[in-house]
Chain length 194, copies 2
């Protein structure tokens, strides 16, 4: 048996999510998280750069599934289709447990600092997608716009998925949101006179 209980990082993540959910992000101290995980405050900061980051540990993995799908798209695929494929892949990587996603999102929605961090993760994702598009020969500005569009489409689909009770197929919602964006860009959607 090792000197310490295994999976310190995972225990910290679990303890943090629980406490943030129970009493809120601000009302939870890092010392409390560490105590519940059977560790010390100092060890928490060795695993996570700050108090928020513990909720975003798998962001890299998520970003990876997004980017891999984009890279895997055939060369001739138009940028908007390539990012759409990436968004669908990212959607597929998440949708296995909607309950977990809901809990996490509820915690984030309850605190401005956590929302701020989530925006940063999405910005990282956007930058990664834009970079991958540039690698394919897409001009920089076009690459940025396509990446932003793809992430926006994903966000809208994700909100619907979290919010609604019936629909469970996130990739399908992604495709649907993309179609709406296309219609929008084509000039559709004038407000009905009222």
């Amino acid at each position: 048996m090792g000197r310490w209980q295994p999976n310190a990082r995972g225990r910290l993540q679990r303890a943090a999510l629980e406490l943030y959910g129970e009493r809120g992000f601000e009302q939870t101290t890092v010392a409390e998280i560490a105590q519940r995980a059977g560790l010390t405050e100092r060890t928490f900061f060795r695993h996570f750069t700050d108090k928020r980051e513990v909720l975003f540990a798998n962001a890299e993995e998520f970003e990876g599934s997004f980017v891999r799908a984009l890279v895997a798209a055939p060369e001739a695929t138009p940028p908007i289709e390539a990012v759409a494929a990436a968004a669908e892949a990212g959607a597929g990587a998440i949708q296995s447990d909607r309950a977990q996603a809901r809990r996490r999102q509820a915690v984030i929605a309850a605190n401005a600092e956590l929302q701020e961090r989530e925006l940063t993760k999405l910005a990282r994702l956007t930058a990664a997608l834009a970079g991958a598009l540039r690698e394919r020969g897409v001009p920089p500005a076009t690459a940025s716009l396509a990446a932003e569009a793809g992430v926006a489409v994903f966000k809208v689909a994700f909100e619907r998925w979290i919010g609604e009770e019936g629909e469970e197929d996130l990739p399908r919602l992604v495709r649907q949101s993309l179609d709406e964006l296309r219609a929008l860009a084509a000039g559709a959607g004038a407000a009905s006179p009222g």
Copy 2:
């Protein structure tokens, strides 16, 4: 003569921008900013909720010019055109001094926490635009997508404007970026074989 020097808030903003530029955001303490402004640390936190916010004091004003232009657009304007008009208006509100914008942006680009706060401001702007679109009868998801598209277009134009030496007309760059987004959504932009 008043008991205190006038414009405490402005003095704090100026001192902060100077110090963040001179020695960096992290290397500057709030006590130093307050001292340069001839005030105390406690007074700084009465004017700004935190150390970052001092750089984003006019975000509301900026957001206002954006939203006002959207509200002012004729009822029949398609959503994408309405947000485009808003983005052009916001562009017009900024472009009076590119040098100032450059200084500010350099400070922000040098620090992750400041970038995080900027993302939050842009998210606020996006939400405000989406809200205004909904008021016009645009369905929620479409409103969100249109708002995201408008802000993305603005961001791309702004980056070009800050980066390049020649072009000075930010609204024109906004219109240009919008055209690129339109082409993108229509399926253009397949990578050239190579």
